[in-house]
Symmetry: C6
Subunit: 73 residues, 6 copies
């Protein structure tokens, strides 16, 4: 399964996304994704030092600033 297909398979599921910059980690429901890995998440929260810090709700993430995507079980 190619990386972009793997992402598509995660739609509707909770994922963890590590962004570039000051160690931004986000968790949310993956609602859509395009081929650039731009992501639209809902019910998103920001994770700092392993704890939920800010409730962000719905966010759009720019693909090129995503470092790593994990499914959350």
């Amino acid at each position: 399964m190619f990386p972009n297909k793997k992402i598509q398979s995660l739609i509707g599921h909770k994922i963890r996304v590590e962004m570039k910059g000051d160690k931004n980690i986000l968790e949310g429901i993956l609602t859509s994704a395009d081929d650039y890995l731009n992501l639209y998440l809902t019910s998103t929260t920001e994770i700092v030092d392993g704890e939920r810090k800010r409730v962000l709700g719905s966010v759009i993430l720019r693909g090129n600033n995503i470092v790593m995507i994990n499914p959350v079980n």
Copy 2:
């Protein structure tokens, strides 16, 4: 709704944009957006430590340096 369509749906609304770099956070009215997520905002202010710091007026943001986009309610 794909990420770029979600962005289009926010035109005319206030959004919060987190840019790469020294934790630049901007709030403004989304006036236009292209497929690279380059954004044109008006009535923009810079947010530092949760407070409005600089009034920037109209700005153009380069899509690849955008980390995250939020609607502001």
Copy 3:
């Protein structure tokens, strides 16, 4: 007006450009711009802590390293 059209409308005018990296801020006359937002500025000066620091004259800026563009009134 799309972001790249907005940029075109600023040709001949003074703009302020924030670049990635150590808070590089430049002011100059926008002379040309392409679709990648690569910019050619003339009469450019570097701004540090709100003061004019270095006169740079004519410069070419790589679009992907531009964070934000502002018209200067």
Copy 4:
């Protein structure tokens, strides 16, 4: 062998990937890769100071944030 073909030849093998940012180093089984070097790894662990730190399981890595890829023998 072109870089992307070399990557394809590593599918099914353990690789070490150095990501941009706070010296993220990951080791995992390369499961798929596309032409942008987006990678899908399984059985992934994070390496900090030469020691295995976090078990991440399956991850997707954005190609443009990959600095270096090594086969692990």
Copy 5:
């Protein structure tokens, strides 16, 4: 003159290039440039704190990591 044409007009001339990262500044003769602003310089020296530090000879610079290009008179 578009930014890439301006670059072409500098071939054979000495330019100063500011790269991303730890304030890398290079001076050299621009020998060729492509549309991505990848540059091939000869007789290149590295500038640190306004002084010539390392003689690098011929170098290839990746366009997306170039912040700013200046002609040197």
Copy 6:
């Protein structure tokens, strides 16, 4: 000679590559390169403070994270 042709002319030769991030410098034999400047090096070593630090063997480097490429004589 265009930058990408210059790179092709270095195949089979030892090059020094400066990567983005914590001043990663690598030396190795350039084995292949594509138009994005993705590189495949063999007999690679990492250089820190001018000294050889780690033997890395064969590595793939992502073009957009390359700052500068030098031939090594």
